[in-house]
Subunit: 268 residues, 6 copies
């Protein structure tokens, strides 16, 4: 494609060297997962979203004077709670943290000191927060962590229901980015997650914070093994998804990623 030159791994080493000499404002590191995404989306959905957002940001940056490169995608991550669904793959937490640090080290080794992790998988959120802190603690190098649900928090506020997995927001974004989505198989499950947990006979609390848009008093609870509470793998309502909803979100996020990179490079 015409944006091949924005992907690190599609360059030769001499082309990387030339890019470095021209100046690279930041390297984007897409972080996905290989895990079930309901009956209507394939296992690589988080990879696709993370990588597509990086690509769009790199293109938008190019048009706007912000020079970005996209690193290879971390494609297997923290998906332990999806393992009851065939095809889901996982790394252990320890290995995941180690891989992340070694990828950052590799990039920094070549002088790419400004790194932005672009995470598409909610289950990586806490571990990546630990990771960027640990990285700064041990290497004195600050990696920023971009996540679409964070960066579009204002737009997502208007979406009803739990924002957890393979539901309206995620499905809409996948649609907007051109992912393989089988809209006709979309379904709704575990809309009231608390009820689902109680029904499954597991310990719960009415303060439990599960989703990314929890409001009011909260208590952190571990994820559920999802098949205990959702037969389809969806947590929320995927039938509400639409490309339009997705486009609104994507169009908001992409320039914000560019802005983060510009600010990180001190060029605000």
């Amino acid at each position: 494609m015409s944006s091949d030159h924005l992907f690190l791994e599609h360059l030769t080493w001499e082309e990387v060297e030339q890019a470095r000499e021209r100046g690279v404002d930041a390297v984007l590191l897409p972080i996905g997962s290989t895990e079930q995404h309901g009956p209507h989306m394939p296992l690589d959905t988080d990879c696709f979203i993370a990588r597509s957002l990086c690509a769009r940001a790199a293109e938008a940056g190019e048009a706007d004077g912000v020079r970005l490169l996209v690193a290879p995608t971390m494609n297997v991550t923290l998906s332990w709670y999806h393992m009851q669904f065939p095809g889901s793959m996982r790394l252990s937490t320890t290995t995941f943290l180690q891989v992340f640090a070694e990828l950052c080290d590799s990039l920094a080794h070549h002088g790419f000191e400004r790194l932005i992790a672009v995470n598409g998988h909610g289950g990586n959120m806490a571990a990546l927060t630990v990771a960027v802190n640990h990285y700064y603690e041990t290497r004195s190098r600050r990696v920023f962590l971009v996540q679409w649900w964070d960066l579009a928090a204002d737009l997502l506020a208007s979406i009803e229901g739990p924002m957890i997995h393979a539901e309206e927001a995620e499905t809409s974004i996948a649609m907007a980015l051109g992912h393989r989505v089988y809209a006709e198989r979309a379904t709704r499950d575990a809309w009231d997650r608390g009820a689902a947990v109680r029904e499954a006979g597991m310990p719960w609390t009415s303060f439990g914070k599960y989703g990314m848009t929890h409001k009011g008093p909260g208590v952190v609870v571990p994820m559920d093994m999802l098949r205990d509470i959702t037969p389809s793998g969806v947590v929320g309502d995927a039938t509400r998804a639409s490309p339009e909803t997705g486009r609104t979100i994507v169009e908001a996020i992409v320039p914000r990623i560019v802005q983060v990179a510009r600010e990180m490079a001190g060029r605000a």
Copy 2:
């Protein structure tokens, strides 16, 4: 004291056995830190707050038919970003996660399957979220994580300014719980944290999420080495603190902790 029988370590093994036979709804595991808390509070502030909240919840529970025990306090945790201030102590992230798991294992070994971590240190938040998930992944046992800023999120919404370290909310709670607070030394620093970071010449982004009450679009950034941005160690305004503010928060939290335990035990 009269509530000695609520602290596990103040019991003999026979008394623990008797408590277990009578039934224990949950064990509370206080998690503090040993780190600077500005010029006006001692290093053990997070330990004191976590342990005091546990004690009050255990007492309130006792009055209310919810049987709680308080485990020994984790007193040195993830304080790397305070190390520029004399006296601060830290565990590495890896060791912290390991200690947490082994404490939970110890308690579960004696049949205490319902554990609630009560964390007083913001810097432990992401790692503890990882920890309770990892614990469920590897032991199939769910630990809940209570943090005052989460559990009182509704009340804290009205507090202005950054909610980060040794500021209005934390100082007020410490006062309300009877901690050694030197109110006259209270100060205000890094009120506008973004400005402080920029001034220190570090990479930043205007979307940066630092505090516990960040609103709107956000990007996860690692903590700063705090002395780079605050000469006093305070991030926020401690001079606004008052015992009254603290009492309001404490009085809201304590019954909520009891409620979490009651629900966890399936006795809601």
Copy 3:
């Protein structure tokens, strides 16, 4: 594309379940690298080759009654000796071995007991040999390891010169598989590797085994940091490469991979 259904990550979990129910003879696990491949090939060359060979084998298998699935690609591996060339990325040996085992565990968790690693990077060879042995030792499950230079050893015997990196054979295969190859930038370097090592002032022995086609008495020596001996990153002669040479090799390998899978499944 029409072969999308052969890639695990392009399936939904229900489709994986259906595939499993129909029977899967083996899962192919492509192992590449992100590292310099001379001035004439991009960093993802080993990923491309490994994944393309898997895809072709899965297609050929389908035509031939052998049911294969292709897992996600390990895209950053053991490339430490390329790190002097911009853009190269690496995992540490320990992390690499751990990731490999966890990927195999993930697949086995879903009942895919017959795994074939298809490795495109010579620098992974010894570690993967250790890995499949270690995996059998600790999990009692046998993973087979396919490498094009092994599986086409008879055809490669006629290629002159060192078979090490970005040279005639690898470049030819990349061409045959449709990779982005800038043939006009192809070059020749370190043809006599011993001489290059000596010239660089490093310890050497005339028995040193470097390439994959070493004959006669040999001594195992560690890889060189390649930029010490080759300014271009090529070790061998890439100018001799041709799509025809590549096609001969590819056409030999693909049915052999299918045969390995058929035999592994006991259907020979």
Copy 4:
């Protein structure tokens, strides 16, 4: 209390800074345990003894021109062989060693190079010996290890019976230091430990060294899982304990700790 200023965690960071500027001869690091101590003492007995001895030494030092600070207590340590008794908690050996090193690192980071570990739990003895050696090996910094049974070896020589756990000496010291001791529940068990081991059907040798006052030819044997040999948790005779015995020991130890610190600081 009036000795609050001797406990590191009760100081603000500015007070620590001031103490450091005035000079600190050594930091005392109390190491306890959370484990059964018979029917007559609570689980925190070792913590209490270690911390109290540190406090008394710091006070005595202050009166004597030796400036000491007391660090937070390690409260869960190597208690695996007590786990059959409810409430006992443990760290694994590996984690314990790691925590110890990180606590020492934290203190040394602030310029407190002279550290004295004050251990109250016999089960930590060998591991702490390994720890201080390992610490010197890897950090070139010498930590001294004080244990009451070592430092009062001359006085303890006159106490009859095994000196192992919750027996005469330990109970007496706890009494003298003002610990919660239920003297009326004190008991005697496993007085002849060899007999108890044989009776339990475990491998033994008449040369077995169990207690801290073994005389003559010896063989190192692992600890027993204590409930296999003592129903009460006591190993020895707690009924012989008295505050007077305890006071004699405490009064001997405290000035010796001060002397160790003075000598360590080269001020002897």
Copy 5:
């Protein structure tokens, strides 16, 4: 013996110092195993062969102006696949790699920068290849790895049958070096290893590379648990062994080891 001065551990530290001052061209590090070697050879066969070859090379070197020292033997290594046979001992792969690196570090600490590992156990081959690469990656120091089957590859080409374990070649070398060999108990087993594997009902492939002299297209497969395929522990035909065959091999290898050392020291 008269060659005692060639073994590091038989020297006093002053003698080591003197040797170092005179100049040491290389230190040889023998690597054996403790594992079954059929009914006709004892468990220490690989140790004996590795150490004897080192001794002979050191003596030959001495006569030839190449100064060598022999380090202590690694006597327990990667023998997991022999564990069904009584007496076999093993290290885990991780521990083995760690021990190897620490031995090399110890020698390098004293200025012995030129190290040659002399491995007598086929099961260590891949791990040692990883080890010498990892060592160069992390310490920038090149260790060479000598193995008799590599260094005598030309001579072994004429030996028929699998070259795997306790067969013709190994037995012959053991005889030639004066090892305790009970020739009358020698036997032949698993001559056709593929057949043996199939018979045992394990996954196989006709491309499987097992032995050290595999020719043509190959696939790496893990070792078998040997008792699954050979009742005697022999894989190959030990009855064909003879001291003459062994002598031919030994006489070829010894001067080659000397040559490797001479070249490594840049004195070729």
Copy 6:
């Protein structure tokens, strides 16, 4: 030799099987070191002593109806504090503990449940105490630890001076066992270790417990880097050594080792 059949590694696997069937009361595991032993003894002194004591005990046992086997010797152990002296080699503490556990696991795998570690190196003492405890904690299998200075404590009481390294007692035992001892080079150094430490300007305390025969009140201090306090490597007085002294000790120890094994096997 005639006692070859007592060494595990000199047996074939069938002979081990036969020994096991006849019954083995215990396996002795010799633990030595490779480290300086003054100007008068070679680096392998601890290996030699440990292995010789095992051999003598196995022979004495055979004459006495106690069936013992001797395992291969751990020849590189915890010698970090000797590393200033050429030729000394070391394992890290972590690796040492791991190797020990894996050796015990290997032996236990074959049904040898009764293991006696026979340690010849004082620097391993604390770590081996940790090791046998950790082994019992994690495997529920008790390994006994025999050390000549422990087992002959009564006889050694009459030897004057520090019992630390390469001094009277160790040298005498080496002589009695037939080790290569250059008596004419024997020397005396660091007789008053406290003075030597102070002179070297290192932190010390007059309560410091260094030697194996410390009496009275004590404080555990880490080992010194020995060359800081002894130019020869000797700590004590080797000139007082004599074969007669050694013989007295050896003749006392050997039957005691046999007795330990007999008791361990419950045949007392």
